[in-house]
């Protein structure tokens, strides 16, 4: 063939000088506007570097070589490989009760009524039957609440049973318990140690902020959490305890202090999360709330601090940036269910509520607690696996969350790195499909991806730190040799 032909790609005028081009597998290239214009007009000379760059990154082809097609097909398959295993993450709400009364908490109840809000032995057994119908090669079971340690007997039962069944069926299985650690005792720790359980907890920042966000009797949440972290690390190992934070209005002014709190207490990752638009969080929006723009300003400041800390040789990964960067900079897929196309709700993760109701996601469960059962897939006592996972509700979720067919997403240069979250869109607008130009989901992800790209382009320190987050090694390469 003579001349060249285009391969599928997306683009965005990135700044005054350059266009960002992104191919179908998420590889990207910055091209000067003039070169880009020549490229799409097929006037680019094959002797130029930009031509060779575009060719090698599979934006154009100029021969009958099968390489671009074979490699692109392989890379697209790899990027979408999260679809292959079907539902891998199974969340159990073992109790709706909690002894904390966090202002932003979606749905938990301060109550001593065990029969009403705790998962029963029978419900747990039924839910496990459903878990083990999943074809996923690796099963992850996450036990949460409320506060799951308030119903520790159920935690124990689920983990013991699941481990036994996994061994019998020769399947890989992992356990995470999401807990505020306030009720953690030595017997529980010994059990977690025996079963290789990881713990995930909440740390919102310094004591004053944390305790204001997370009230409990005695107002000692911060102290109890950190004491629990210390004991858990001793018993289980330093890498078995992670924490994440929720950003409230009070957090916005203190990103550096929050990040420093994580470093001070030896965490190697932090997850900067905005308030979720569900449950009580929505109701208390006036007191707690802020605009997406305010959250993003907070995030940028926190990320700057995190980068500086890493560059000085202390590893601290920001989990959301790490997720986005993995998508942008590596050929691999990610398992994060809230940002996939199609969405991970139901097909990547599923929630078994204390009463046996099965929801497509934790957000779907919270919505139901607000009396909207739109995303109820079925009930572990009443429904069969086929009805729950093959039913109309889940099909609708999947069909409406293919970003490739959403107006505003389909054309977006960032689509290969982004996704859709129909439960979020529904909760915020009443429609499963977002109105992209006004969507906070879009605003946040578009801004963050653009911000990360800018840092990658102009800040070599940040770039090196970001790459170190994608490796197992502890420090950026630049910090390795003086």
């Amino acid at each position: 063939m003579s001349g060249y032909r285009l391969l599928p790609f997306r683009f965005l005028r990135f700044d005054d000088a350059r266009t960002l081009a992104v191919n179908e597998a998420g590889e990207f290239l910055f091209v000067a506007h003039d070169d880009f214009a020549r490229f799409v007009r097929r006037e680019l000379s094959p002797n130029t570097d930009v031509y060779l760059d575009l060719k090698a990154k599979h934006f154009l082809f100029d021969s009958d070589s099968a390489v671009p097609f074979e490699l692109l097909a392989t890379k697209i398959r790899t990027k979408k490989s999260f679809l292959g295993g079907f539902t891998s993450l199974h969340l159990f709400v073992v109790s709706l009760r909690c002894e904390h009364s966090c202002s932003y908490c979606q749905v938990s109840r301060v109550s001593s009524d065990r029969t009403r809000y705790d998962m029963s032995e029978e419900t747990a057994r039924r839910a496990l039957d459903l878990v083990f119908r999943s074809p996923a090669p690796l099963l992850k079971i996450e036990l949460q609440g409320g506060e799951p340690l308030l119903n520790f007997e159920r935690v124990r039962q689920i983990i013991v049973d699941a481990r036994e069944r996994a061994e019998r069926e020769r399947r890989a299985i992992e356990f995470v318990v999401t807990t505020n650690l306030a009720l953690l005792d030595d017997a529980m720790l010994a059990f977690f140690r025996e079963y290789g359980v990881c713990l995930s907890t909440s740390l919102d920042g310094p004591a004053a902020l944390h305790d204001a966000n997370r009230p409990r009797p005695g107002n000692d949440s911060h102290a109890r959490t950190l004491d629990g972290v210390r004991r858990a690390r001793e018993a289980l190992g330093p890498d078995r305890v992670a924490a994440l934070m929720t950003t409230t209005r009070a957090s916005l002014q203190m990103p550096e202090e929050i990040v420093d709190e994580y470093v001070r207490h030896g965490f190697t990752s932090i997850f900067l999360r905005p308030l979720s638009p569900y449950g009580f969080a929505l109701r208390s929006a006036r007191a707690n709330g802020y605009t997406t723009r305010e959250f993003l300003d907070f995030y940028v400041r926190a990320l700057d601090r995190i980068i500086a800390i890493n560059a000085a040789g202390t590893r601290l990964v920001e989990s959301y940036a790490q997720l986005l960067l993995t998508r942008m900079l590596t050929p691999f897929a990610t398992g994060y269910v809230d940002l996939q196309s199609p969405a991970g709700a139901g097909i990547g993760a599923v929630v078994y509520n204390y009463d046996g109701d099965v929801y497509a996601s934790d957000e779907a469960r919270m919505l139901a607690e607000m009396h909207d059962r739109r995303f109820l897939l079925g009930n572990a006592h009443r429904d069969r696996y086929e009805t729950i996972f093959g039913g109309a509700t889940l099909r609708t979720i999947v069909e409406s969350s293919v970003a490739e067919s959403i107006l505003g997403c389909a054309d977006c240069a960032f689509l290969p790195w982004c996704g859709a979250d129909p439960v979020y869109h529904y909760a915020t607008t009443g429609d499963l499909v977002p109105h992209v130009p006004t969507s906070a989901f879009h605003e946040k992800n578009f801004f963050l991806i653009r911000h990360l790209l800018s840092l990658l382009e102009r800040d070599t320190t940040a770039r090196d730190v970001f790459w170190s987050w994608l490796r197992e090694e502890a420090v950026p390469l630049q910090a390795e040799v003086a």
Binding site: A25, E27, L52, D53, K55, A56, K57, S63, S65, A66, V67, E70, L71, T74, K75, T330, P331, F332, D464, W467, S468, L470, R471, E472, L477, E480, V481
Partner: protein
């Protein structure tokens, strides 16, 4: 160190391959496979049922036993080494038990003709060598840690190549195999599938990739379509679980896009466990293409730092071969491997007093004339 010497022979009617022994052997079957090595014409035992006698210097008096004598340079041979002696008196050391660099040169034919080839291929059909290779594999010590399989292009024998790998697995199950191949024939998926099916426990294929752009790679290896064949071959090998090491030779044609090549590898070949960046060997065809290929290594350190960072950031290991340590940027020195084999590296007068001499690969004996301006003794 010489691996070949012309001896005077008698009674050698075909190529005889055997293990060297300096000490008399009790086992009759072992004697039948052994060249008895004698010094100063002193026979330590009755030589009659040995494969033959190798004599350093003057021959002992023997009859009806194959004999090669007059050896001087191969006097280092020792128990367990393997030698081949042909009717013309060529004595070749095929294997030395004490060496870390043993290899089987499968064929001298090649389907590429790389501009910088250090061992230019020969056109004649040498497939009769296979018999010798099988014998070679059968005779070497199963305790050997690593064995190279090289060429020419060893896969050209196709079934013969697969049979060699299978034989190694059978006879040398604990010996790591490192195969140097251009990988082009694995473009045929089933060939890769057959290699994977052998399930050798410790096999790595070292495969060169010189550019992220097909035309440039094809030019460097002087074979149209080679990039396509190698890249798709790499994917086929990965599909069948064959481990891969990529090899990039650094010269004036590969340096300008070295970072892009590293990005290409990270995105398209992330299954490669290791990427080796190799300095140019100043031997073979390189001298015919020196104008096109030569670049002082001192002038590509920034590119090499970037490329190795991209590879390591992608979670793969990166190594730098064939570079004198003084030429490398300080942060590359930990990645340097001393690859120049023990029988061909030398040092220069400038190297006297260098503190890193012990860790440095030095120079190829043949490659000291054209060298980096950065050569110096390090404090």
């Amino acid at each position: 160190m010489k691996l070949h010497e012309l001896a005077r022979v008698s009674g050698v009617e075909r190529t005889l391959i055997g293990r060297v022994t300096r000490t008399p052997l009790a086992d009759a079957r072992a004697r039948a496979d052994a060249w008895l090595l004698v010094d100063d014409s002193v026979l330590p035992c009755d030589p009659r049922d040995y494969l033959g006698i190798l004599a350093i210097g003057e021959p002992p008096h023997v009859e009806n036993v194959p004999l090669a004598h007059g050896l001087r340079q191969l006097a280092y041979l020792d128990d367990g080494d393997v030698v081949a002696v042909d009717p013309f008196g060529n004595v070749r050391a095929l294997y030395r038990r004490a060496s870390q660099h043993n290899f089987i040169l499968v064929t001298e034919q090649c389907n590429s003709l790389c501009l910088m080839c250090s061992q230019p291929p020969k056109a004649h059909d040498d497939s009769d060598r296979l018999v010798e290779h099988f014998r070679h594999i059968d005779l070497i010590d199963p305790a050997t840690a690593e064995l190279g399989i090289t060429g020419g292009e060893p896969t050209l024998f196709r079934d013969g190549f697969l049979a060699l790998i299978a034989r190694c697995k059978e006879r040398l199950p604990s010996t790591a195999l490192h195969v140097l191949t251009n990988g082009r024939l694995f473009y045929y998926r089933r060939f890769a599938e057959k290699l994977g099916a052998i399930a050798h426990p410790d096999l790595v294929l070292g495969i060169p990739l010189y550019s992220d752009v097909d035309t440039l790679h094809d030019h460097i290896v002087q074979a149209r379509g080679a990039f396509e064949e190698t890249v798709l071959g790499l994917h086929h090998l990965d599909r069948y679980g064959v481990r891969i090491e990529l090899r990039v030779v650094l010269h004036a044609l590969t340096i300008p896009r070295l970072g892009r090549l590293a990005e290409f590898i990270a995105r398209n070949l992330p299954f490669a466990a290791h990427v080796a960046f190799m300095g140019l060997e100043m031997v073979g065809l390189v001298h015919q293409h020196l104008d096109e290929l030569w670049i002082d290594p001192a002038d590509y350190q920034r590119e090499l730092v970037d490329a190795t960072s991209i590879i390591r950031n992608a979670g793969m290991s990166a190594s730098v071969y064939n570079h004198q340590l003084c030429v490398l940027a300080p942060r590359l020195r930990p990645l340097a491997r001393k690859s120049i084999s023990d029988w061909k590296n030398v040092y220069l007068p400038q190297c006297n007093g260098c503190s890193t001499l012990g860790a440095c690969g030095g120079f190829f004996q043949s490659g000291t004339k054209i060298r980096s301006r950065a050569i110096q003794a390090l404090a």
